[in-house]
Amino acid sequence: MSGSPVTLVGLWAGYDGEPVLRGVDLEAPGGKITAVLGPSGCGKTTLLKAIAGLVDVMSGHVLFGDRDVTGLPPEKRNVGMVFQDLALFPHMNVYDNVAFGLRVRGVSEGEVRRRVKWALELVGLDPGEFAGRKVTELSGGQRQRVALARALVVEPEVLLMDEPLAHLDYKIRQRLVWELRRLQRRLSATVIYVTHDQWEAMELADKLAVMRDGIVVQSGSPEEVYENPADEFVATFFGDANLVPGELLGVEGGKFIVRPEDVELHPPDWREPIEGFVVEGVIEDRVFQGPMVRFEVRVNGVVLRSLVPRSYASRLPSRGPVKVYIPFASLKRVKVPGGVG
């Protein structure tokens, strides 16, 4: 289906004259997944609704490719939307739910049958087994697939997904995220995927947009955002980050961001490297996390989190003195929003 790019330009939108989006600029590339990440209440859902045409746009523009859809009602936009609670029609069976978008477009019943079968197979539901089932009888994962099939069957220009996996168990979520990624690659669909879960964002995103208080504060590839967070908020919301006061590093004022995996811990007799900040610390806590072990280390009154590969962690004590090494390259000076950097 190869979707169009979606561009939001200076978008203000909200409900009953109250803006929720306060000037959003975003480019979601065509045929790619753009993950929109942000805390609850930051305007993520409103962003999707503005793209779908479900909220009042006060100013700015929504473009699908070169087509300005800002003033169009939702039914004229050709989007597919998977809602947070899925919004399957409870009075229809699986087949009728998926067929809905085709029937309101006046597609012939023969074509409807063919396309519904295609969509159900696409999302991994056997049409013979599921077409006649009531949606109220399905498991969470199956309902999720029906919602996806219903949105995809009309071959939308853009697929909008609003935290569709939020209510599912971790294992099912993981499997669906991987399947969704494969499916998107196969269809070259433009997907805008809203989540507050950074794991889902990292797994899915070709492009990441971090939102806060109704604006997009930073966008880029997940790696770009992770390596160079725009400010303290982005650094701590996308990935974990230590905030190190400049004084600790012997610098006047300011704060620095260091990712926990960049805080290296070594036995006290470890030979010092040349380029970096080395200091004595004391391990206060040790938490096993599977592939990595997280340590909490007190350095001159500041507690730093450090992620150490499991294999190396066995060389370190659970408590007591340790040598802390932070390469200079891993230290990023923080821009405090609204403050002096």
Partner: protein, 254 residues
């Protein structure tokens, strides 16, 4: 029997004493005097009575349909497009007529209709009955809409349905159980009402309510009167049962 059945006991006892027992008594009333069987035969077959039945049926059906058509749009407006104080205001304004006694409202309506040149007659009676049951239909439609999440509309719209299609294909079927309940109550209310037909019906106001009045209070024919009451009650119960059986097949479990 489940233990929670005691919750139903007070109402069940009340209804048994003051509704079902008298109903049985009423059903057998014809046995005194004219004879049970002949009372029912007369109630069912006498052509003059059929005029009363038909008129009640047509008037109540029209009144229910008119009330439904008038009540659904504001109910949906209140449920989906208003919030807070505005929502409360719409709901209160729509059900406020219920706070005033039916007799007062009927008299007021009679005066108002005469002011605009409409005298008592079938039209005035249907208008009065619709006016009477409007708050019931509004409450039913409002509850139906309130139980149908707003995102059902959003989902239908993003899938390509215009506002009317979203309403007809999604909102209306999902609200149907509540609308049917409202329609059934409104219909029964309008069908057996006495006040409105006698005040606004004029010479066409001969409905089931007035028939009973004539038979029992004017003609002293208690046997036939109770047979008519039983026939009408059973007919409306059967109608309601058929309606509910059809409508409640809709699965409302999300």
């Amino acid at each position: 029997m489940r233990k929670a059945a005691f919750l139903a006991a007070p109402l069940a006892l009340y209804l048994a004493a003051f509704f079902y027992a008298p109903l049985v008594y009423l059903a057998l009333e014809g046995a005194r005097g004219e004879g049970l069987v002949s009372a029912y035969i007369e109630a069912l077959t006498r052509p003059e009575y059929h005029v009363f039945y038909t008129r009640s049926l047509v008037a109540a059906t029209l009144a229910t349909l008119i009330a439904g058509a008038l009540a659904v749009p504001p109910a949906f407006y209140a449920a989906y497009y208003s919030a807070g104080k505005e929502k409360m205001l719409v709901v209160v304004l729509m059900i406020a007529p219920f706070w005033i006694d039916v007799l007062l409202r009927a008299l007021a309506l009679k005066v108002l209709l005469r002011l605009v040149g409409v005298g008592p007659g079938f039209g005035a009676m249907v208008a009065g009955l619709a006016y009477e049951v409007l708050p019931l239909m509004f409450i039913a439609a409002y509850v139906g809409a309130a139980f149908t999440p707003r995102n059902m509309i959003d989902a239908a719209r993003t899938l390509g349905a215009g506002p009317l299609q979203a309403f007809l294909r999604v909102i209306l079927p999902l609200s149907a159980p509540w609308l049917a309940a409202g329609a059934a109550i409104s219909f029964i209310y309008a069908f057996s009402d006495y006040t409105i037909p006698s005040l606004l019906g004029g010479t066409t106001g001969y409905t089931v309510g007035t028939l009973l009045y004539i038979l029992v209070l004017e003609g002293d024919r208690w046997g036939v009167g109770s047979a008519v009451a039983i026939v009408v009650t059973l007919a409306t119960m059967a109608g309601a049962a058929l309606l509910f059986k059809r409508v409640y097949r809709v699965e409302a479990g999300w």
